[in-house]
């Protein structure tokens, strides 16, 4: 099998090459060749370059979700309201007691749900993002990280809407929240980083093992009841001990405590959880970068 490329053609070509942008190079197991630092530099460059793409994808998902339903934004409110109402009813009828709280139970529940919904909406959206865009992934080379990040940003909607709802509810009960309410975006930041990290790795795995998407939906509901969000930390027992190791417990409880009471005993836990979230994010980002083309092979 011959390639009839003249030597003269190649010389001319190399002259032209000098005015060209740097070259792209594909070979087996492409990403780890240059070492870990170069890899992170690549990742940063890619994310920086795809900012506009991320924005477009985010806008597209947003418009698509809310354009054709009357309920639209209100849909974001329904699940939390239903969960809170259920717990209030259970509490009232004595089936399920949450014990003494320094604040009306609905406020306690709804602020917890604000942060929980942020986490679960973002995680579910991110983990399904690659599968949903499967047709595109197989045919076009675009930044898959941008796709997952844009989907994870769907978490910002519940955060905004439910924060406002919770605030209004506070006023209804005559309970004034503290100034920490202004810092909600910053308080939610570690939570967002954690969900982004988990979302990346789950999106990847879901592309290859479709069950993961389904299992996750089930697991999230489970987790809501097993994590002390709709009820305070139990005095003792297995659940208490597990919860103290659960980063979600701190990441959700500290903001809630600060907003409602202005102080919280969970600072250490929160800081450790934030560090863990950051580490998880970096690891998952690296893993995603190394393996993203495998998804295109099998999605």
């Amino acid at each position: 099998m011959k390639n009839k490329c003249d030597k003269m053609d190649l010389d001319e070509a190399s002259k032209k090459e000098k005015t060209h942008p740097p070259e792209i190079f594909y070979e087996p197991d492409n990403s780890l060749k240059n070492g870990y630092f170069t890899m992170f530099a690549e990742i940063t460059k890619e994310i920086k370059n795809s900012r506009w793409l991320t924005l477009q994808l985010f806008k597209r998902d947003l418009l698509a979700t809310y354009k054709q339903s009357f309920i639209g934004i209100f849909w974001v409110l329904i699940l939390p309201l239903v969960s809170v109402l259920t717990f209030i009813v259970l509490n009232h009828s004595g089936i399920f007691t949450v014990g003494q709280l320094d604040v009306p139970y609905p406020l306690f529940a709804v602020w917890g749900l604000t942060f929980w919904q942020t986490f679960s909406t973002g995680l579910l959206a991110a983990s399904n993002s690659l599968v949903k865009a499967g047709a595109m992934v197989v045919k076009i080379n675009f930044s898959k990280k941008a796709l997952v990040i844009a989907s994870a940003c769907q978490a910002l909607i519940p955060l905004a809407v439910l924060s406002i709802l919770s605030f209004l509810l506070c006023l209804v009960y005559g309970f004034l929240p503290t100034m920490w309410i202004i810092l909600i975006p910053i308080l939610a930041l570690p939570l967002l980083i954690l969900l982004l990290g988990l979302g990346l790795i789950l999106a990847l795995l879901n592309g290859i093992i479709r069950d993961i998407g389904n299992i996750l939906a089930m697991l999230i509901t489970f987790l809501l009841f097993l994590t002390p969000i709709l009820y305070p930390l139990p005095k003792g027992g297995v659940l208490a001990r597990i919860s103290q190791l659960n980063p979600l417990y701190y990441l959700i409880n500290l903001p809630r405590d600060l907003i409602l009471f202005g102080k919280s005993p969970h600072w250490t836990g929160f800081i450790w959880s934030s560090v863990a979230a950051l580490l998880a994010f970096l690891l998952c980002l690296a893993a995603f970068h190394l393996t993203e083309t495998r998804v295109a092979e099998r999605i």
Binding site: N3, E17, E27, R60, K139, I140, T293, E297, R298
Partner: protein, 374 residues
């Protein structure tokens, strides 16, 4: 699925994924495909279905990495593989242009500057502000192509997407590709249309079951492509029916199996008939090698000729005159039916090879007159 997990784990841990080996159930979609394309050239990639053309394009596009060998690309790649990527049915055309352009790799500045050109090219009028789900398939494709065509890539990858769309659209596509060629854009086209390949390509890559052969001349490449199909076809005569209880075609002579373009082909049938068949229907057809469509088909009714087969012996001679086919394997088909197609009397399919003509890439060669006047 298991292999997917294996590959991912090995990649994450920094181990090579042992790409050179085939695991059970795997096969080489592409093997030994090597070629160079210089700036400004157009490469046509041709091959039977399943030969690895789209896989090759995906590797060039960076969708997955090769498991053996390497790819070096200089320049920005634009692909016309999936028209309307990222289009959401609920968004308007205008909104979708931005999404599609972003996905194809254009920057915000580029889209802003090219927006009017894209809208003009797509030519969908007021529908631009209507949700895309209301578009006809033609409008959808036009909009998608409009965005992809204005990517201003250095290297343009085109898959058989040009088969979609009406004539006006196809002409627009080819005009645009021609314009890109003039601007020194490197193009790689996959097509089954040999005429497209021969008019646009500078060189040709022929793929068959993953193996590639590079041809400096498109004509040689196309000849190789046709040859692949000729090898696959049957060179035996299908003698499906040579008579029934009332008539036997005892001796059948046919012309040579290798013809030049413009030659005639004759069936000479000697028959013995126990009963007479008035006004028989003689069905004549020619099929082209690699297509299942018929190049020609007509019965004697079309020519206004009535043929009666009388009891006894006789000879029937049927000639296909001046057949303008070239460079292909064809089947010449003759079938004879009784008057109202109630009985089949004869049916043969004879494979015939028409020799090629230099600089002709199509299969049908008409005689064209060229005249100049002062």
């Amino acid at each position: 699925m298991l292999y997917g997990i294996q590959d991912i784990s090995r990649n994450i841990l920094g181990l090579g994924s042992r790409p050179g080996r085939l695991r059970p159930g795997e096969f080489w979609a592409l093997d030994n495909a090597s070629f160079n394309v210089l700036r400004g050239e157009t490469l046509g990639i041709i091959g039977p279905n399943g030969s690895g053309k789209t896989t090759l394009l995906k590797i060039l596009n960076g969708i997955f990495w090769p498991d053996k060998g390497q790819v070096r690309i200089q320049g920005k790649i634009g692909a016309l593989i999936e028209v309307g990527a990222g289009f959401h049915p609920l968004l308007t055309g205008r909104e979708n242009i931005y999404v599609n352009a972003a996905i194809l790799g254009m920057t915000k500045k580029e889209v802003k500057s090219q927006f009017d050109a894209i809208v003009a090219f797509a030519d969908i009028g007021d529908f631009l502000d209507a949700p895309v789900k209301h578009y006809s398939s033609g409008m959808y494709v036009r909009l998608g192509f409009a965005v992809a065509a204005h990517c201003r890539p250095d290297i343009f990858l085109v898959d058989e997407v040009l088969a979609v769309g009406d004539e006006g659209f196809q002409r627009k596509c080819f005009d645009k590709i021609g314009e890109l060629k003039k601007n020194d854009c490197t193009t790689i086209i996959i097509s089954h249309n040999m005429h497209t390949i021969s008019s646009f390509s500078d060189h040709v890559l022929l793929l068959d079951k993953g193996q590639a052969e590079y041809f400096h001349s498109p004509q040689d490449g196309i000849r190789g492509y046709n040859h692949l199909f000729s090898q696959q076809s049957n060179t035996e005569i299908d003698k499906n029916c040579s008579g029934n209880d009332s008539i036997q075609f005892v001796h059948v002579e046919t012309s040579a199996k290798k013809l030049n373009p413009g030659d005639s082909f004759t069936f000479r049938l000697s028959y013995e008939a126990q009963s007479s068949f008035p006004d028989v229907e003689i069905d004549t057809a020619i099929s082209n090698g690699s297509d299942s469509r018929l190049y020609f088909q007509a019965t004697n009714r079309a020519f206004g000729r009535r043929i009666d087969i009388n009891q006894g012996t006789g000879i029937l001679e049927i000639t296909f005159k001046d057949i303008p086919l070239c460079q292909s394997w064809s089947k010449i088909i003759l079938a004879i039916w009784s008057q109202k197609r109630t009985e089949l009397l004869f049916w043969w399919r004879v494979p015939v090879e028409f020799r090629g003509q230099a600089h002709a890439s199509g299969r049908n060669l008409l005689d064209i007159d060229y005249r100049q006047e002062k």
